[in-house]
Symmetry: C2
Subunit: 386 residues, 2 copies
Amino acid sequence: MPAFGFRVRVTDGAARLGECQTAHGVVQTPAFVPVGTQGAVKAIRHRDLEEAGAEIVLANTYHLLLRPGDELIARRGGLHRFIGWARPILTDSGGFQVFSLAQRVLITEEGADFRSHLDGSRYLLTPERATDIQARLGADIAMVLDQCLAFPASREAAAVSTARSARWGQRCRRRLAELRSRPVAGVAVSNREQAQFGIIQGGVYQDLRDESADATVAIGFEGYAIGGLSVGEPSDRMYAVAGDTARRLPADRPRYLMGAGTPEDLVECVARGIDMFDCVLPTRNARNGQLFTSEGRVNIKSARYAEDDAPLDPRCGCYTCRHHSRAYLRHLYVAGEMTAGALNTLHNLSFYLDTMRRIRDAIAFRTFDRFRQEFLRSASSLSLDS
Amino acid sequence: MPAFGFRVRVTDGAARLGECQTAHGVVQTPAFVPVGTQGAVKAIRHRDLEEAGAEIVLANTYHLLLRPGDELIARRGGLHRFIGWARPILTDSGGFQVFSLAQRVLITEEGADFRSHLDGSRYLLTPERATDIQARLGADIAMVLDQCLAFPASREAAAVSTARSARWGQRCRRRLAELRSRPVAGVAVSNREQAQFGIIQGGVYQDLRDESADATVAIGFEGYAIGGLSVGEPSDRMYAVAGDTARRLPADRPRYLMGAGTPEDLVECVARGIDMFDCVLPTRNARNGQLFTSEGRVNIKSARYAEDDAPLDPRCGCYTCRHHSRAYLRHLYVAGEMTAGALNTLHNLSFYLDTMRRIRDAIAFRTFDRFRQEFLRSASSLSLDS
């Protein structure tokens, strides 16, 4: 068994305070995982990410497979060395981007045949190859290849894709066992202590979710992810499915809700037993001038901030809020300065990571329910611009 | 007389080691002034700039006049407060950008009538207005409005524009004296200790340069700039004009060569008595993947760096060189990541500012000539890619 480990330290209702041990250090949970698609969180540097409090970063296998290539990264000694980030890394399987970005995608039982959105070159991503690629990248947490489903999907479509995802998960697990047990020609394993998480599918159909959870847990993984949510379904539906699925998962393994979400989503899903989240929302919105603050959401390009000398968020201690006014941030955004993207990203990530810290503190003191009520009552979810 | 002061501490041949005292602190000379066009050095944050060793930054009056406007900045308490930079700032007069960026420019003795390249709105920039605008911005060093000249220009054209620049310089000086002596309705002065530099014109005609220098010195400014060089003339011509002009200027005032240049230009012009430089080269080239290193120039997108695990410049101590390999920098550049712009800018500015530090050390030890010979013999000016 690899050095990966997970320990729940405190529970408060369904909420769990824990820690994930990896070969590159500990991740305190509940954790938010910033998205560094191509091996870099857009607009900022690793140091900024660390200062904001990030303990782990996600990189996208699809993007890295296409450019610069998993074999090149393996020759550099793996992703940590290549990108110069010494802390934990999580990689997805590449499946989601194949479905959302790639061209001429053909899915069979074997895997996904597709062409690169960059240059049209052809790839075949099978469960085995997704496992091999991630072994070369050497992240601390790798994900199985699953078949993604759009929302809304019929029960029939969901059932077919969920069953296939289970078979693919089994093949990924088998391949990883092979890579762990003996050298495999052509597969340089960059991180011998890589953990692998299974993914629960099933759309918004709880009986399919239950089946998928049981099948995935039967295979046995270091952790379990809930996939196929936060894809357009109503929030309360997402919360219900996440909660009901989390309850069915083993208590001693981390639970990761993929692709979520808003600050409210994080709080609501922690309340339902989720330990990890990743989402492009804070970083992508930042680059578009959409900022999260303790007083509400701010669209920084609004003329109302042109002469506003206050910090973006008076309760925030990030570099941006310590050094700059809303008036300056608006100027940089309107003037198209790259620095706007950097300063805004730094703030939004700080807001998310600070929210996770507050969540962990509340669980530690077993006051999470009060925190949650106050957080949802607070202005955080309101727009300051309207 | 304002608190602005300049002191030459050591001379070594024509090279001078000095310091410029301003209301926002000291600038050691010879100094390189990074360009922060719209109130931000593109792609990086103020803190990065400070860490690279920048003691002063340049902001462009033309850009700030158009957006967000000099009056808005005055209401924020001036440029230092607005952009959150507590160290010295230099602003140009706006003239150069009017000639290079604005639309439908009409120059008369009164000033420059033009339309914004952003929205076509009309402005009249006179010497008095250029002075007022810079008073509102409140930089530590303001520049007079001069009439720029393209290269090559006939002697006749150069003579006309040089004579006009002298008259404009006189009007700028008179206006500043007015602003210093009494409150002027509609002009909020953001920095009572602002210095004003005159600008010597004359193209590549040394007799015109001499006339311009004498006329400008006769008006009397806190410092003197040499304008209209580094616009396409051969390097040796630029060095000769800069040197001959510098010699004609008072020894107790700073000499600023506007818009130059390459690392070699800096060394050659320090050797001829120049104290200050500004140039977009390190920052613009960085964003285009053109990097300066102690081993030569690097075009980071070249395929030869795809698997190069060495730092960009093994002799450089900047964040980029301490943390990342050429392979990663190439990946970020090729993948179009904004972070590439940030990391490359940080490195190029560090290279420039470090070169200035080495220049100052060499003058302090009176070994500047040896430094200069070695610098020019070294690989710095060669391309590593060819």
